[in-house]
Symmetry: D5
Subunit: 78 residues, 10 copies
């Protein structure tokens, strides 16, 4: 399994709509509202052969109210 | 031959459309979807007398879904 | 419990030394090496009355090889 | 195989020393000197189970003359 | 109680409209117009179990004339 | 009276030393440890004829462990 | 008297229209067109009890062609 | 004579239209397409009493396809 | 005469030493301590044939306690 | 021939030493002291087969007093 994090910046006042829409899709293992530049942080696990770029492109970017996302990959869990 | 790289930032959810459109033009020697600020990275080889600025301007910038590009030139391959 | 994330930038070539030192302290629930500007990402759970600023200051900042850290707090888990 | 790129910023006047040292290690498939913020760009292929963070940490960061590096992962080659 | 600060950037010429609208809601303990990148600074106290992300999302972001906000949490008062 | 805020970035692991030193001087009306780029936030009230630049220069900048400060002035309290 | 400076960024090609409009209002003691990120720099003197935030908000921000402004306050003249 | 440089960022795919329009005006002594953040670089010589701010404002900013410009003045030629 | 402004960032706690040293040289027409990123702002008038780059280089940069300066030229006074 | 520009940031107060050292090497076709973030701007012409990265690395970076450089390549002269 590959583990990666996506930080999500939403339109003003849309953070909880986006979090709810993402939760309903049941693809993230954890979703948080957070302090800082981004509004939300989500953690995902996908199979080793999944193309993460396409996964984010097809499963997140079409959620209404998202302004931009930033993906951080993990290499190893200690 | 001159070798250069172009990083491409696309509209939300358009990365793979842009990659496909670029691939169909058969002008890039390599195209990758990538982590980080940009969505795609492409490598190009052109003849020594080709104006790289015009090449990018005329062959990439008209692809629908591109938001901005960043060109890195190579001076020498070791 | 409060949940928060700390991103850690280390000195060149010290990322795994820092991760190992942090793991030995047994205070983080998850530690990852990551892509991007920071080298490591760690998740922490502390009691509601713990002062997070002091926790980071006293439990992380004295690990040798850390250059800087960035703390992101979570408000709610969906 | 996983493919990734590392951009390398060197100390003033050390770009070619670093490129030569990296070339002698025979771990990069391509090394270029480049225009822009970084001095060098290198492409690497490693096995799927290699921890890229550790690879960069152990195989690049100890080369004398490097100031900082930036790693870009590829998800898919078109 | 939790104490946090919100910096508010408004549309050109709207700083005092936004401050007045915020004051009428009687949710901030202090509101200032300020020098620097942001136009306003407000201090809030909420109960320990209040989700600050949702509070800002629902109580500030719908005020007309706000362009963006930045939230700073406090951990401890000395 | 003039009211202004000073954000303080400290050396790694020195945030609470600096906060304590500042508290002992009894010149700030409020001091917080905070999330974000800075470690501390302090609020000051000085007489109308006090030169704020000199005040910060002479009363804060000599505290050991401070890396940099950022001053935000208030124009009006609503 | 309080002395402060306002840097003004205008729409493309509107710098002199904005400067003329500002000059006609006879509220700035000096107006310059300048090099750098901003197009104009103006110096203002107002009475000690004037709210500078409101002054800029009401006397500058309604001039057509202004994109954004940045205010710098002076504490003391040597 | 005063010598100054103007870097020009154009709309996507418009760099050569802008360069051609600028060339037809016969006011720049040199025009280049370039690598990096800007698309074009132009050098100008004007009489000592020419207001450079107004010159750029009136002779460049009305060219269709320009997004923004950055002017660098020279003080002395060695 | 040419008119230009220099913003000066000083070492921590040195702003007034630098201002005093600059004042004693009697080359600036106005010196202010200021809010924001820089500590001081100074205005200079020099003859039309003075090389401003050399002026700053030779008359300011050797003052002890200066960290960096930023020069803004004026083109025209309205 | 290839034409490129190098912007040079020098140590405080060293801009003219660096310009003089560069001028004595007789490799730049034009050298200017400039406004803005960099202190100097130099234009170079080299043969088509010259490696520009190495040229800058070997001919500029060893001049005493340089802090950093930024190279801009030209693709075409209009």
């Amino acid at each position: 399994m590959q583990c990666f994090f996506v930080q999500i910046k939403t339109e003003l006042g849309r953070a909880y709509d986006v979090a709810d829409a993402l939760a309903r899709r049941e693809i993230a293992s954890e979703i948080y509202s957070t302090s800082g530049e981004y509004d939300l942080l989500a953690k995902f696990y996908v199979e080793d052969d999944v193309d993460i770029g396409r996964f984010v492109n097809e499963n997140l970017h079409d959620i209404d109210g998202i302004r931009r996302t930033f993906t951080t990959l993990t290499f190893k869990a200690f």
